[in-house]
Structure formats: C-alpha cells, structure tokens
C-alpha cells in the first residue's frame, strides 16, 4: 500500500491559500485550556530500514513450521499463490463499492460469479455478495427467518459452534428473540426428540450446523421435516466450506448461512473472514447483504448492477434487512479465485483428501484414546477423549512443533478431557503418527501412575 506524503513546500502553499501561518493555527477554535501543549508520548519516527528490521524481528517471534490440528470454525487449507497476486492488483485492492455500475463492471461481474458459484455449491437459488463471517451470517439468517415468519423464538442446536451461539445471543437478547437450545445425542447429532419438544408455534426457525462443531454431519432432512411440520424455517450453518466438495449440501434448508474462510482466506488471527447467505428466490427480498444482478443496458449488452438496494440500511433505515451495509468484497474475491482455480473436480479431490486424512487420524488415535460420536459420519474433525487433561498433552505436543486439538471443557464440561482435532490436506501422515504416539504415551503413563498408586495402597494394607 503506497503512502504519498506532502512536502513542506506543499504545506506552505496550502496554508498560504487559506491565509494561515502554521498547522497549529487550524486548531485555534479549540479553547486553549483543552489544547495539548506537549508532544504525544510516542516513540520517535523510524527510518524505512529501521521499520523493516522492527517487523522482521517481531515476526521471528511467531512460531513457524508448526503443524496445527486446530479447526473449530477456522481451517488451515492451502492458498494457491495466484490468489494474492490477483487480489493485490490495484483495480481490485483499492476499488470502492460498485454503486456506480457504469465504472464498476469488473467488480460487479466478479461478485456475480461468486454468487453463482455459491449457489452451485449449496444448491440454493440466490446468494448474496458476502457478510462479515459465518457467525454474523448465521445471526442475520435467523433474523431473516423472524421477519419472514412473523414469529420470534428460535431453537438452536447445542452442536452449533459455541461462539456462533454467543454471537446469536447478543443479537437475540437485544431484539427480544427468546432462544432455546436442543442438545445432542451420543452420535454427536442434534437430538430430534429434544428438538420436537423445544419447537413451539412461536418458533421462527431452527438453526443447526452441518458438519457440526464436532465435525459430525447432521441428519438435515430429519431436522427439516420436524421444523417445517411446525411451520418453522430451517437455517443451516456451514463452517467448513470444503465439506461442500463431497458432502451433499443441505437442500432442505430454507436459508444457508456459511463461512467461506476455507476457500483461500488466510487464518489471519481470526479475520477478516467471509460469510455468505444463500436462499430460495422467494425469500430474496428479505435477504440481507448486497446483491449483484445481471441485466442488459439500453443497447442490449449484458451488464451487472447492485440490485434490490432499496432494502438496505441507507434507504430503509430501521426497517432495513440489516444494520450492516457492507460486504467483504476483497475477501470474497479470494474465495472466488479459489473456487475458480480448484473447480468442481478440484474441490471434490480436496474434500476427499481432508476426509481421508481425518479418517486415518481418527483410526490411529482410537488405538489409544476414545473417539467420541462415532455413530454418525464425520468430515474433517473429530473429538478425542483422553485420560489426561488435553491441555497437558498439548503442552508436550508443542515441544514437537505441533498445536494439538482444541480442549472442549470450557464449552462442553460434561465431555471431560475431550479435545476437537482437525486434519486438512496440509496435515502430514508423520505429524498424525507423532501426535498419536504422544497420546499413546500419555495414556500409558496415566495407566501406570494409577497402577502405581493402587500398588502403594496394597503395600500399605500389607504393612498394617
């Protein structure tokens, strides 16, 4: 990103033009007692070489060459080099929102293609130009269902990402939308009996994630049947977009709210990411977010334009479909390029590799720890229960330059020493084997220490 500073001569000329002598004179209207009369307490300016050196040193403090087994809504997939070289082009990097169609055909066309590909992947009829991320997309989709049904309560699966639930709760609390949570079975899926009990004539929608937080694929058709029978809509959240390469999309859903980060968006310490909402054409007028449409100009040539904008924040205000009036254009462009470069065949292959590596990992870990939720199919994540606290195991893994699975105690305390592990196409067999080996060691030492303590008790007994 370039920075074009002004020269002292430029400043002089500007001050002269407005009849002032110094920049300080510009602040004269502020009463003297409120004006700071000393320099700000910040370090002196640095030369370019010092700045480059400073950031090089800071970046060396980051861990490099680690294998991560973390998932839980943010996935480490390979990013083809072409993504960054294309999105760095000025035409894309610094372009503003395409409000003026005449000069924004390139941007609009790329967004239109993004929407089209999302529809092809999800089996929906229309998709928007992106939302902030998967969590707000889910919350927005729920509010969409509330508007469409005229009902206010929501039933949420406990197998939905806990932080997505927190985001939804923030919106729900302040908008008077009662939330009820339905638990999960031993197979990790939403408990259908609990769901039936939780739905009332006031339920606007059921919100479920698939593959869910545990990596398990939900029985979307069964959930849809129950929701629709009660006149409620079904919103399905998808956090791992790569799953769409091989898992049947939730066609029975009324609204799909997904996170597209897996498609070429860097992990970036948590963002920026790329949410998307996809739905049926009949609901398009209640769908939040920007929408690009294809049309023809006066000469009959194809063109693209932002459409249905009258539903948006700046025009409809408190009756708008959302208070958010922007999208993640550049991040969505990364997703767009990723989908284009992989294509239908590539995405399927990518998904298969994720599935295969995870299946291998689960099989290896199963020899030593307990794999939960094995009764239902899973994609690229699984939950392992160990005798030892996962935090302790993970500390040891760090010594091998590995980041272990996410300990689940703070979200699901009843699962005890459980952790959520994720394998992607980037996870190597040797990393999996090493991790499995460390878990094996952990289990052995836990067993022998419990054996040792029981042996001590025997000795005491004999001594008495």
């Amino acid at each position: 990103m370039r920075y074009l500073p002004k020269s002292p001569a430029d400043r002089e000329a500007m001050l002269k033009a407005i009849g002032l002598r110094s920049v300080d004179d510009l602040f004269a209207p502020i009463p003297a007692e409120y004006r700071l009369t000393r320099d700000l307490n910040i370090p002196r300016q640095m030369a370019e070489s010092e700045i480059v050196d400073f950031f090089r040193q800071r970046s060396r403090e980051n861990g490099e060459g680690y294998t991560s087994f973390l998932g839980a809504g943010a996935y480490a997939h390979y990013r083809p080099v072409i993504i960054d070289s294309l999105i760095s082009r000025g035409e894309f990097l610094t372009a503003y929102t395409p409000y003026q169609a005449e000069i924004s055909q390139g941007t609009l066309q790329s967004i239109f293609e993004f929407q089209t590909m999302i529809c092809e992947l999800t089996g929906m009829e229309v998709a928007n130009a992106s939302m902030y991320d998967g969590s707000t997309a889910a919350a927005e989709a729920v509010m969409m269902a509330v508007r469409l049904t005229g009902r206010r309560s929501v039933v949420v699966a406990r197998s939905l990402h806990p932080e997505y639930r927190e985001v939804l709760a923030t919106y729900a609390t302040h908008q008077g939308m009662p939330l009820s949570v339905a638990g999960f079975n031993d197979d990790g899926r939403l408990n259908l009996k609990e769901l039936e009990k939780a739905i009332t004539p006031e339920t606007a929608c059921v919100l479920v994630q698939s593959p869910n937080f545990f990596g398990t694929i939900e029985d979307v058709a069964a959930v849809a049947e129950i929701a629709h029978r009660h006149g409620a809509m079904l919103v399905v959240s998808i956090a791992e977009a790569v799953s769409l390469g091989i898992v049947e999309p939730p066609r029975e859903a009324d609204v799909i709210a997904m996170e597209a980060q897996s498609f070429g968006v860097p992990l970036g310490f948590g963002g920026p990411y790329c949410g998307v909402i996809a739905t049926r054409e009949k609901y398009v007028r209640q769908m939040p977010g920007r929408l690009v449409g294809q049309t023809v100009d006066k000469q009959g040539r194809r063109g693209f334009v932002l459409t249905l904008a009258t539903r948006e924040q700046h025009i409809r205000r408190e009756k708008a479909t959302s208070n958010i009036c922007t999208n993640q254009a550049l991040v969505a462009l990364m997703v767009n390029i990723f989908m284009t470069v992989y294509g239908k065949v590539g995405l399927k292959e990518l998904a298969k590799q994720n599935l295969a590596k995870t299946a291998y990992a689960a099989a290896q870990f199963a020899k030593h720890g307990k794999i939960l939720f094995s009764g239902a199919p899973r994609f690229n994540e699984f939950v392992v229960q160990t005798s030892e606290d996962p935090g302790a195991i993970n500390s040891r893994l760090l010594g091998h330059k590995m980041v272990g699975g996410l300990p689940l105690k703070k979200f699901y305390p009843e699962l005890g020493n459980a952790a959520l592990w994720c394998c992607t196409e980037l996870t190597t067999r040797s990393a999996i084997d090493t991790a499995a080996g460390l878990i094996a060691e952990s289990e052995r030492s836990m067993r022998s220490s419990s054996v040792a303590s029981s042996k001590e008790e025997d000795v005491e007994e004999v001594a008495r």
């Binding site: 007028r285 009258t310 539903r311 025009i315 409809r316 009756k319």
Partner: protein, 129 residues
Amino acid sequence: MPYPTDRKYTKEHEWIQVNGNSATIGITDYAQQSLGDIVFVETPKVGAELTAGKTFGTVESVKAVSDLFAPASGTVTEVNADLATSPEKVNTDAHGSWMVKLTLKNPGELDGLLSAADYEKFVAEEAGH
C-alpha cells in the same frame, strides 16, 4: 389534478372506495409520482386482518420501499393478481389500479378520512414544502 370524488383518502396517500360493506384500496397518483418506477408490491394474503392505521404491505420502487397503511379495518377478500406481473400499472393508472379488497369491520372509521377536495389541499401543502 382533480382526485376522484367516489372515494376517500388518507394522509399516507392511500385511497379507499366503499361499496356497501366492502371496500377497495389503492394508492394515489401523488404517491406513484413520488415513488418513481414501481417494481414490486407486497400484499397480505386473502383472509388477513387489517387494522386501520397499521401497515399491511409495501410498495417498492427503484429508489425506495414504502409502507402501505390500512385506511380502515377489515378482512382481506381479494388481492389484485396483476400486481405480481405488472406492478408498473400502478404508475400509469394509480386510481384505476386496486391492490386489496376487504370486508369492512367498522365502517364508522371512514368518517375520519379525507374527501377528494381535502386530500387535494393536503397534497398541495405537501408539495409546497
């Protein structure tokens, strides 16, 4: 323009034409002019209950989405199917394009509405701003 005297008007620019116990509702020429090209009309379903003064649908043009306010309370008996295919008819003939027919619940409510002459005066004041 002279507004048809066979009906009454609201300050939200709807007109209501009464026939015995049933009534027909639409929007005025002033409304269609202010809105611009109309692209979509959102109407309630047959059987829906309207409450006088409350919103019962929307009119969407290229530049805005406007709420429709019920001039009187009642039950919807018919919805104009033309609106779905040719919403632009509301622009070309606002007073001839009806939106919703209903059975009136409380005909007395109409007494509080504007006559054609009062509405014309009201519009002239609005336009004057």
